[in-house]
């Protein structure tokens, strides 16, 4: 396929017709700067083929703001030795016409013809997208997508296979892929992707398990039913037999017999128990008699004991009584000592009080004296203070006013001096007689006067001279002088002084008086901080206190024997000691009295006891009692012997009757009778139960149900087997078809690999690029490097993408398919060395295919060996 000419009109920036002709069969380099319309040309070629002429989704073709436009594209190309002319316009005028040699097609027919020629498809609706582009999608590389080879190959898939059919001849299958899809869809209704049953097939498998379970269950129940029937048969037989034989009645008879014998033994045992009780009573009696006898015989021994006790009590009492006088003596002694100590202590206390009072009087007298002195000083200081205060009052003057007065005086002085310098000086030296009158003032002798004002000098006899001092300055000086003089006089008056010196004297006097005042105040504060009145009252208080102390001292009695009195502490310690000794003596005394009375009581008791026993021992009743007891004892011993013999005899009798065995026999016969009866009753009950149960189960028709379930299972099984076989068959079929189809694809691999290697050897002499089963370039290896093409750098991927596309073009050409390669600003990421190699590759490919290379960098492609076409220039030519 060779594109010869293209013409576009009313399309984006090409509002006017634009023609690109003289396209070469090999390489064509078409360049123009950005915005020149390069991309529009590429878009136009795509639109001419891919977009439906009646599509409403091609607004991008419309020139900006021109809603009435009908974007039109005309293409002339040669394929298979025939000339094709395509004219397609969109939007406002939707048309498509195709002329092939002498045949003409229009509208949809024309479009289908084109799709068939190039191997692509149209979108059902909307704009054409990458998935519709088929083979052109692989050969026409859009800007910046050169590396995305995999996607393009996938979209080209079916078109590629059918296009390459002629190459692989008999192995390709017409409609084989559809067949695979049919088989797959049928298989997928039965099996999941991993080959597990699904849908009906799965349901049947589940149903089958369900049936099997039900059948198992029913079989179990039938079995149970049959067992119960057998049990019923056996029970009925046993029941009837037992009912005829009645074995429990024999057991009952034996039981009665055993009971009678046991009752006899029981009577014997009762007698035995009674006699044993009697024996016990006799024995108890005998023991009591024995005790009485022993008691009576023991009386004399007790009497001796009592006698000894009485003597011991007497002895103890006498010892205690002997101790009494000593204890009483010790008590009286302690009491005297205590009284003495108490007296001493009181005396010592009195002495101490007296001493303390004397000290107080001395201290208070001193204090009173100090107070009196302070008061005298305070009064003196107060007087000084009053004088100072008087002084201050008399000489009060404001120091700031004095300062101001001094400043005014200074200024006045300065001004006077200044006025003198500028004043008119009138000096005179008169004859002694002569006189002049200046301003009515007589001047004589010699002198000098400065004149600041207009003056009149009267020279007697001569007349009057008028003197007027000259200059403005003089007048102002004079005015200032006057002002200062007024101010000075005013200030003097205010201060009430006549001169500055007087003012200063007064100020000095005032300040000195103030210092004196401050000093007097401080002194007064030092002796009377709270004032003189306070000081006076404190003094009178001290006097009072002194009076009190003195009267107290007089009231205190004089102790008598002053020389023998010990210190108070000593007296107190002695007093405490004496108290303790007294306590101890009193306690000893009390204790002794208590012991004494206890001993007296003990002696008394012992005496009474001894008396009582002595009386008893001697009584005649006691002798009589003793002989009676001896007789009774003999009788009782005889009785006891008789009873014991009788007991032994009966014991033997009971033992020989074996009552424990008799008891067991009774239990055994009882149990046997009960058990036999119970068994029969149980049988009867079980019989009824089983009958009821069987009636209920029988009504369910278990075996008939089982039969039916088995039939259903069989049915289910058959259907399952059918589906199972079908699933197996479909699975096998799908596997085979897929395998064979893959084998076919592999056969296309070899030629593609050959073409790929051709280009790759230019780019990377030592490298290899494997084509996988989906005919995609996959594993790339170079030296020891090994990896997928997607792992390469962007530039390398773009280069690999391009050579893969060229290899496809070669393959398609061999299959007799049209090949047109369009590259839109491709290889921009290649370095100059690689670009050089790619140029060689492109030049080589161009010997087999027409290649349209669009670029905005014509300088990079200068050495491509073809004349570049400048869009800008062509545009101007066209217009």
């Amino acid at each position: 396929m060779k594109l010869q000419r293209m013409r576009i009109e009313q399309l984006r920036q090409f509002r006017k017709p634009f023609v690109l002709d003289n396209l070469q069969p090999g390489l064509n380099l078409i360049h123009g700067p950005n915005e020149s319309g390069k991309s529009t040309l590429v878009r136009s070629i795509r639109a001419a083929f891919f977009e439906r002429y009646r599509s409403t989704a091609v607004d991008d073709l419309r020139p900006w703001g021109d809603s009435a436009a009908a974007p039109t594209i005309e293409l002339d190309f040669e394929h298979d030795n025939r000339n094709w002319h395509l004219a397609k316009s969109f939007l406002q005028r939707k048309r498509c016409d195709l002329t092939i040699g002498t045949e003409t097609y229009s509208e949809d027919d024309a479009e289908e013809k084109l799709a068939e020629l190039l191997g692509y498809q149209y979108p059902k609706r909307g704009a054409s997208k990458a998935e519709h582009w088929g083979i052109p999608g692989l050969l026409w590389v859009e800007q910046g997508t050169g590396q995305d080879i995999e996607q393009a190959i996938e979209h080209a898939g079916d078109h590629l296979k059918s296009a390459l059919n002629s190459m692989v001849g008999e192995v390709a299958s017409s409609g084989g892929d559809d067949l695979i899809e049919t088989v797959r869809s049928q298989r997928d209704t039965l099996l999941t992707g991993t080959g597990k049953p699904r849908g009906d097939y799965l349901q049947l498998e589940k149903d089958r398990a369900l049936y099997e379970r039900d059948i198992e269950d029913l079989k179990g129940r039938v079995q149970h039913y049959q067992e119960q029937v057998d049990r019923l048969g056996k029970l009925a037989h046993d029941h009837d037999q037992a009912e005829a034989e009645r074995p429990w009645e024999e057991a009952q008879r034996q039981l009665e017999e055993a009971r009678t014998r046991y009752q006899q033994v029981e009577r014997l045992e009762q007698q035995q128990v009674q006699e044993k009780a009697t024996l016990a009573q006799i024995q108890e009696n005998r023991r009591l008699l024995q005790q009485s006898k022993e008691h009576l015989e023991g009386l004399s021994r007790q009497l001796e004991g009592r006698k000894a006790e009485l003597e011991r009590a007497e002895r103890d009492l006498r010892v205690a009584e002997a101790q009494s006088p000593a204890i009483a003596g010790r008590l009286a002694e302690a009491r005297t000592a205590y009284e003495q100590a108490e007296k001493q202590r009181k005396l010592a206390g009195l002495l101490q009080t007296q001493e303390r009072l004397e000290q107080d009087v001395r201290r208070l007298e001193q204090h009173k004296q100090a107070q009196t002195q302070n008061l005298a000083k305070a009064k003196d200081y107060h007087q000084q203070l009053e004088q100072a205060r008087q002084q201050v009052r008399e000489n009060r003057i404001d120091s700031a006013a004095v300062k101001s007065l001094k400043a005014t005086a200074n200024k006045l002085n300065e001004e006077s001096i200044r006025s003198r310098t500028i004043a008119t000086r009138l000096s005179w030296q008169l004859e002694t007689s002569a006189s002049l009158a200046l301003n009515n003032e007589q001047l004589t002798g010699q002198g000098e006067q400065q004149l600041l004002e207009e003056s009149t000098l009267v020279i007697p006899g001569v007349g009057t001279l008028g003197i007027t001092p000259g200059g403005e300055e003089l007048a102002s000086t004079r005015r200032k002088l006057k002002t200062l003089e007024d101010s000075f006089a005013e200030q003097l008056k205010t201060l009430g002084v006549t001169s500055v010196e007087q003012a200063e004297d007064r100020l000095s006097t005032f300040e000195s008086a103030e210092r004196t005042l401050k000093h007097a105040e401080d002194l007064l504060k030092s002796v009377a901080p709270a004032g003189i009145e306070q000081l006076v009252s404190e003094q009178s208080e001290a006097e009072n206190e002194l009076e009190r102390a003195k009267s107290q001292l007089q009231a205190t009695p004089e102790p008598d024997q002053k020389e023998n009195v010990p210190a108070l502490e000593e007296a107190e310690a002695a007093f405490v000691q004496a108290g303790t000794t007294l306590d101890k003596a009193e306690a000893d005394d009390r204790e002794h009295q208590a012991t004494l009375s206890a001993l007296k009581q003990a002696w008394h008791n012992a005496k009474t006891e001894w008396q009582r026993l002595a009386d008893e021992e001697k009584s005649p009743e006691r002798q009589q009692q003793l002989s009676q007891i001896t007789t009774d004892l003999a009788n009782i011993e005889k009785q006891q012997a008789e009873l014991q013999a009788s007991l032994e005899r009966r014991e033997r009798e009971i033992r020989e009757a074996r009552p424990e065995f008799l008891k067991q026999d009774i239990e055994r016969y009882q149990n046997a009778a009960n058990h036999l009866r119970q068994t029969q009753e149980n049988r009867g009950r079980e019989l009824r139960d089983i009958k009821v149960r069987l009636e209920a189960w029988g009504a369910e028709g278990l075996e008939e149900q089982l039969n039916e379930k088995e039939a259903e299972l069989d049915q289910c099984n058959r259907r399952y087997q059918e589906l199972h076989r079908r699933a197996q068959a479909l699975d096998l079929l799908l596997t085979l078809l897929t395998e064979k189809r893959q084998a076919l694809t592999r056969r296309l691999q070899a030629p593609l690999q050959k073409h790929l290697n051709h280009y790759l050897s230019v780019l990377f002499p030592e490298a290899s690029l494997e084509v996988d089963e989906q005919l995609r370039p996959g594993t790339f290896s170079r030296g020891s490097e090994l990896g997928q093409i997607t792992e390469l750098s962007f530039g390398a991927r773009e280069q690999m993408g391009l050579i893969s596309r060229l290899a496809y073009a070669d393959l398609l050409r061999e299959a007799g398919r049209p090949t047109l390669v369009i590259l839109d600003d491709t290889l921009v990421h290649s370095d100059s060395e690689r670009l050089e190699d790619m140029k060689r590759i492109l030049f080589d490919a161009a010997s087999r295919h027409q290649i349209l290379l669009f670029t905005c960098h014509p300088e990079k492609w200068q050495d491509l060996g073809v004349a570049p076409v400048d869009i800008q220039a062509s545009k101007e030519q066209s217009s």
Binding site: S173, V229, D230, G233, E703, E710, L713, R726
Partner: protein, 375 residues
Amino acid sequence: MPKFLHTADWQMGRAFTRFETEDGAALVEARFEAIEKLAQLANEHQCDAVLVAGDVFDAQTVSDRTIRRVFNATKGFTGPWVMLPGNHDAALAESVWTRAQRLGAVPGNVHLALQPGIINLELQGLSILCAPLTQRHTYGDLTEPFSGYESPEGFPRIGLAHGSVQGLLHEEIDSSNPIAPDRADASTLDYLALGDWHGTKQINDRTWYSGTPEPERFRNNEAGNALIVEVSEPGATPKVTQLPTGRYQWHQWRETLAVHSDLEQLLERLNALPESAVVDLRLEGSVTLAGEETLLKALSVAEARFRSLRCERSGLQFAPTDEDIAALKADGYVGEVIESLRQGQGQEDTQDDAARDALAILAGMLREREQEASQ
């Protein structure tokens, strides 16, 4: 001159596996109809009684409905029916019979021979000596006590038993429920009515198996009959007449298809069968694409015509001829697939069935495509 109808092995309550649900139901229904047919025949031939020699019921626990329907079906004949428990419905402590009695389903004219002994039908002048099974299996001859049973003077002695006549039917020595082959003579019976064997079979002049009145399996020839027995007087040789009662005929064919004419013959024979046939076909050999098509079509027709048709074809190779394959126009790799499936069929492995089916499916798809294309 007493005359009675001898039947046995009704097997009521049996369900049929290996059939479509609808067909199974029809076959069950036919068994009820067979009882009605027996009643009708008893009336037609003016029989004095109907004797059922065991296995009235197929199991002890059949549904109440089945029990009631069985006795309802006997209503057509109002004379006495004597029913004997067989091995399937033995008179156990609790049995289908005790249930029937409890349900009140047993009409007054139906005698249940639940205990061994003699039932004298006074009006009809017949003595029925009964040997019911009272256990599931017995290994002694239950008819032995017949010799000891006294019957009224002038009443023909008719034995009624269920089991295997020894030495005649089964080779196995230990067969359960044995019956002595000379029982009729030994116990001076005028006739011994037997059940258990589902085909009609004469043992001797006085001893017969009546067989089941409605066939229920593919084996057993001579099923689907009842016997009318006439005993002119005690000691006379009975006159036995065999009457057909069955509605459906069961056919089981094993055929090998080698050449096309084999198939044609098979289809002719199939066409000749009446509509009341129950057919089980098992085909072996091989069939061409055209043959397969013919076969499928014929089977489809037959399925609709017969009560039931089942055809097992797993032993039948699908062997399309080269012309068949060419007609499918399978080119390229699809052609290769067909070839490998054709080869795969002959192999002795599990792929065999799958390959055969796969080939058939593929051929079907391709033919469909061809037909679409040619339209």
